[in-house]
């Protein structure tokens, strides 16, 4: 006898507005999303290699024309990736773009009756702290700014989205906090770091790290978009692995430098504008920022498709 058919996944909502679509993750998402629903992209950057059926509006989220876009196109859902992580961006501009931009677009969602909102945050909001538990659950306080003020925006954005979840129960809102995103097209700090032939490491430290493939993040965003889920979810790839094992897998030759030499040197180089790597980011090479992703797997019914080895090797050309 044939058992009951597995329930088909809930259908995606109608037109989906995607902010930050022209970034690498946005493009990976658009590729999956446009097969199932109508995609409307918003980004202040031009969208290269855009799929034909994806429309794109080159707009700043803080501009009034975004309101027109909501009025004309009536999106049913929003995926908000429009967050800039450029450590070289002046602080006030980054804050305005990230935090004010998020507030504006979420207000528009309320005003125009958008039913579903998915906000991309990051597991970096917890921060690599020496006394972290081995696996951080979603309820863990967001303490990253304790050691690195550069993540204040990200935390403020995450907290704003959290308050939005309960202030607007009529909008089904999901916040995703993925671990370090890597992939062939990704150009963020972790991916760039792993592409170095002789990366500097902190002597005597070898933390467990988590990586997730960009296509897996895209599929998690897509899964979170389906009706029926709400709240905060950590999103992790296929497992945890020591940083040194990642280096070995990629054939890197790490150059260990003692913390007391490395940190002040990086600070000076960063302040002089020679490098764009804030010295506080060294914490990621020393301490745990590993999250528990079981809630997303359980409640969103999502799982990564790339294996640990494939995920690590995805930074290779």
């Amino acid at each position: 006898m044939i058992g009951p058919e597995p329930a088909a996944p809930a259908p995606l909502p109608g037109p989906v507005l995607v902010t930050g679509i022209a970034g690498n993750l946005g493009r990976a998402l658009a590729k999956q999303l446009h097969l199932e629903t109508t995609v409307i992209g918003v980004d202040r950057r031009p969208f290269h290699d855009r799929p034909k059926d994806v429309e794109h509006h080159q707009l700043d989220l803080r501009k009034a024309r975004v309101d027109d876009l909501f009025r004309r196109r009536r999106p049913e859902a929003l995926i908000h990736l429009g967050i800039a992580h450029d450590p070289r961006m002046p602080f006030s501009e980054a804050h305005s773009f990230n935090v004010v931009g998020t507030q504006k677009i979420l207000e528009l969602c309320v005003r125009h009756g958008v039913k579903k909102v998915v906000v991309l945050s990051s597991a970096n909001v917890y921060g690599p702290l020496p006394n972290n538990s081995n696996f951080l659950a979603e309820e863990t306080p967001l303490m990253a700014a304790d050691r690195f003020s550069g993540v204040r925006d990200l935390i403020e954005l995450d907290m704003y989205a959290q308050s939005f979840v309960w202030r607007h129960p009529e909008v089904e809102t999901v916040i995703l906090r993925p671990c370090n995103i890597v992939g062939p097209t990704v150009r963020n700090a972790p991916s760039n770091y792993l592409r170095l032939a002789r990366p500097l490491t902190v002597m005597g430290f070898d933390p467990m790290i988590q990586l997730i493939h960009e296509a897996d993040v895209a599929s998690a965003l897509l899964q979170a978009l389906r009706p029926g889920s709400r709240g905060v979810y950590n999103v992790v790839g296929p497992g945890e692995v020591p940083l040194s094992a990642v280096m070995r897998e990629l054939g890197r030759e790490p150059v260990p430098v003692p913390d007391f030499l490395l940190r002040p040197t990086l600070r000076r180089l960063f302040q002089a504008g020679v490098i764009s790597f804030p010295p506080e980011e060294l914490d990621h090479l020393q301490y745990l920022c590993v999250v528990d992703g079981s809630r997303a797997q359980r409640e969103l019914g999502w799982a990564p498709r790339f294996s640990l080895r494939e995920t690590i090797r995805s930074v290779l050309p």
């Binding site: 081995n134 005597g204 430290f205 020591p242």
Partner: protein, 284 residues
């Protein structure tokens, strides 16, 4: 951390098998921690590395401290358990000896996950070494997770207050903090009290230079007659008590939890007193 070369690790593993006596290799091969294609479990514990790294400690266990066990069969063969021991000796060799005992003298062997202080992850080399041999930072969240996964946790409720006691205060247990009791009640885990005798004399501290320790950012700076807190070849006796089971609410008020923690402390003190009465001498 630069991994020691594979051939060195292999030599160390052979040494562990030799020190463990016949059948050690077969017993240790029964350890099947969940591990990924890179040889580690999600906490960073690496069985192969640990089997190699334990060799020098196994040497201390067999040849230097000549550890004698009393009642190791009282440690449950499987399932969640809290191992609660007294802490002493300036440097935590007592923890290492209990772990070696569970590894080499139980069949199948058990990995004791010792809870380390929250500042340990800031120590270069020590931090990854501890992670690879299965130690975790003692946050309540870590403990809950490990107990839920039916692991054995080794806890020293006296903490560094016990470890850095002066020689004049030897074998007088510092009052147990009650955090472990809440975890035991939550997880419904049995508690095995452990009394370690010998470690108090391994590094007799005459004074603790606390202000200097604070300046150096370390928990204590004990001064022994020979200055450094290096261990003398004392004879270790480790006494395992009958598993204790407690019932009650983990949310009970502190006084109730402290009373129950006091019962465990009394059990540990009893084992210590028994060991002191039974041993022929400190070094014998």
């Amino acid at each position: 951390m630069a991994a020691p070369s594979e051939s060195l690790q292999q030599k160390l593993r052979e040494w562990t098998y030799e020190l463990g006596g016949p059948g050690t290799r077969e017993r240790l091969e029964k350890l099947t921690a969940p591990r990924n294609e890179f040889g580690v479990d999600p906490y960073g514990f690496d069985v192969d590395f640990a089997t190699a790294a334990v060799a020098p400690f196994a040497w201390l266990y067999r040849k230097y401290f000549r550890v004698t066990l009393h009642g190791i069969e009282r440690v449950p063969a499987d399932g969640r358990v809290l191992l609660i021991a007294n802490h002493s000796g300036q440097l935590p060799f007592d923890a290492a000896m209990i772990e070696v005992a569970l590894l080499l003298e139980m069949d199948p062997p058990r990995i004791a996950r010792a809870l380390v202080e929250r500042w340990v992850p800031t120590l270069p080399f020590v931090s990854p070494f501890f992670a690879r041999i299965g130690q975790v930072v003692g946050t309540p969240e870590n403990c809950r997770r490990l107990l839920a996964a039916d692991e054995a946790l080794l806890v020293f409720p006296e903490g560094v207050r016990g470890l850095n006691k002066l020689f004049s205060e030897r074998y007088k247990l510092r009052s147990f903090s009650s955090g472990f009791m809440r975890l035991a009640l939550e997880a419904n885990a049995p508690i095995v009290p452990i009394g370690v005798v010998g470690a108090e004399e391994q590094a007799p501290a005459l004074v603790d230079l606390k202000p200097l320790a604070r300046m150096l950012g370390i928990p204590a700076l004990p001064i022994t007659p020979y200055l450094l807190p290096l261990p003398l070849p004392v004879h270790y006796h480790i006494y395992f008590g009958e598993p204790l089971r407690f019932t009650g609410s983990p949310d009970a008020d502190d006084a109730e939890l402290e009373r129950q923690a006091g019962e465990v402390q009394a059990a540990v003190q009893g084992l210590v007193n028994q060991g002191l009465a039974e041993r022929p001498g400190v070094f014998l």
